[in-house]
Amino acid sequence: MIIELDEFTRVEGIGKAEIVIENGSVKEVRVKILEGPRFFELLTVGRNYWDVPDIEARICAICYASHSIASVRAIEKALGIEVPESVEKLRELALLGEIIESHALHLYLLALPDVYGYPDVISMLSKFGELVKEGLAIKAFGNTIRELIGGREIHGINIKPGGFGRYPTEEELGTIAKHANALVRFAKRIVSVFASQEARGAKVEIPMVTSEYLWGDELIVGNERIQYESLDEVPVQYSFAKHTYYKGKPIFVGALARLLLKGDRLVGESSRLLKAYKDKIESGYVIYNNLAQAIELVYALERVSELASEIASEGIEKGSGEASEDSGEGIGYVEAPRGVLVHHYRIEKGRVVWSNTITPTAFNQGMMERSLLEDAKRMFGREPEDRFKNRLEEIVRAFDPCISCSVHLVRL
């Protein structure tokens, strides 16, 4: 017998799951990614490198800046383009803005109804209106940063190899710094909301992040450092997203993985919160990915305030974007809100001739199935079918899957 979960709601993109029951017990879980393939690797091939970051941005609206930045980093490595410190700092600012926008979207609009048992936030407005409005304010602020650095709230084309089309003014940066500070108080409140969730899902066994908090030159798997090519990408019959394994095991990326491996990066309020909820985070249950995101939200707001003031007071050095080579190969690793993102290109005479992308949600596929399997085993036969299905959907949601992102992996 197969129990079909309906298409997932309150997640980005189209997917569903099947629970396979044999002899009265749960045998297998299949996550079916139904979103149509979008073939981004094929779309970039043949294109002038200059146009590529704008195309890659369209992979995902929730994290377009992460895609553009992973793309420019790979291009810069391939073509020997130097980037001044100020440009790097502005990119960090954009990525933090994206974490703010994306985590706020997930926590307040998509996951919050699970905590209080509602179908959506709209029906929560009369009782929890204030909390929801705080969330919207944080989300809007994250978008303000994306608009300032990226050029638009969604799919801006301001992020270019070597620098930006337009640079922010001192005044704009000052406003950002002030505003971020004021929002920290709101974000702290949502941390305690998500700390109240009970432990569920599978336990994270192999966490994985990039080498530094928001980008690096390799992947960290436990105590090892590897290039992404050591992972295995496996297509599966029932899904448009491939599975990714390391030495035969599923991997896990995202906020929880970042805090488990790089939590020492946090300072100030976020570091105090991480200590306060250490037991929950370290237990490694995937449901606490929500809590980890809430703590990161506080971190990002604090860091934005500090970083924006720093850039404003130092003054901005613009990049020239000058390439020293016209051919080469480069990989860009960036931490998108949902975890590590990889863009890899080979460029010949200024044109992309080969490209590969792996997104966080694709990395998490295997772990998602494992989580559903463990919870389904725990609950099957003990819960009425409706509740059983809803509870499983909540676990899927805790991964904050971004399905559009996951459907165009290819190694040409």
């Binding site: 309906d6 298409e7 997932f8 709601t9 309150r10 980005e12 993109g13 189209i14 079916k32 990614i33 139904l34 979103e35 149509g36 393939p37 979008r38 073939f39 981004f40 690797e41 094929l42 779309l43 043949g46 294109r47 002038n48 146009d51 195309i55 369209r58 995902c60 609206a61 929730i62 377009y64 979207l105 609009l109 109804p113 179908p119 959506d120 709209i122 919207l136 989300k139 809007a140 978008n143 050029g151 709230e153 969604i154 799919h155 084309i157 301001n158 089309g165 337009r166 297509p235 599966v236 019959q237 029932y238 899904s239 448009f240 809803n390 959907e393 971004c402 559009s404 165009h408 290819v410």
Partner: protein, 238 residues
């Protein structure tokens, strides 16, 4: 009035952008009850709809069924975003979807039948189309309010170039030699990209009667000819 939002293959941006209406979303909710919108609510319904919004391109059998369902249930259907109105980035792919599937997935066929990515308007009649990758929020807000008040919304039909001129921006194409698709791209974004010195990449799709040969003549002086057709095809299959 009852409103449904349906998502097909896309980046999720056009659906997400509705949530980015912020306070204006509350204004929309004064006129509309959202009865279906999978990104925002777990509620599902089979009710008749006064207005349905479809975002994304028809790229799978599942998408095709969803778009037909939306058409059957809705009094007024809006194709929202360049994926829905012109096919979007996936619609600009050069080879057939069969060949592309083979390259990406080998012999694996996937969970549902894959179709050539096409605009919603290629499959069902729509009452209004709002392009943009993503669209301008102000535009969709205005259209929803117009419909609620029984006013016919007005489509835009002029190129980005016109907005550049009205804003008195320096022409990036003729003055700076930056490749720009503004002359053949539907306006409505207030010439966002030329405003910051970058060329338009055509994210709002083509105007109804584009003068392609004229633009190609100018672009030929700036970039190789092969790049011109690639650029034009970024958001739509011509």
């Amino acid at each position: 009035m009852k409103l449904g939002v349906f998502e097909l293959t896309s980046c999720g941006g056009c659906a997400l952008n509705l949530l980015f209406l912020y306070e204006k979303l509350f204004d929309v909710l004064e006129f509309y009850e959202i009865v279906e919108f999978h990104m925002a609510t777990s509620q599902r319904s089979k009710e008749k709809l006064d207005v349905a919004i479809v975002t994304g391109s028809v790229s799978t059998q599942r998408d095709l069924e969803v778009v037909k369902e939306a058409r059957n249930r809705a009094e007024y259907l809006i194709a929202l975003g360049t994926c829905a109105t012109h096919g979007g980035v996936q619609g600009g792919l050069e080879n057939s979807v069969k060949e592309n599937m083979k390259k990406v997935y080998g012999d694996i066929r996937g969970p549902t039948k894959v179709l050539e990515p096409r605009a919603v308007i290629d499959y069902v009649p729509v009452d209004f189309a709002i392009p943009g990758c993503p669209y301008e929020k102000e535009e969709v807000f205005q259209v929803l309010i117009d419909i609620a008040k029984g006013v016919d919304p007005v489509p835009k039909d002029y190129p980005v170039c016109l907005e550049c001129k009205l804003n008195e921006y320096e022409c990036v194409l003729l003055k700076k030699g930056v490749p720009c698709l503004g002359p053949v791209t539907l306006g409505g974004c207030n010439a966002k990209c030329p405003a910051i010195g970058l060329g338009c990449i055509g994210c709002r799709g083509p105007i109804p009667d584009p003068n392609i040969p004229g633009l190609v003549d100018i672009l030929k002086e700036i970039i190789p000819e092969g790049d011109i057709s690639r650029k034009l095809k970024t958001f739509t299959r011509w």
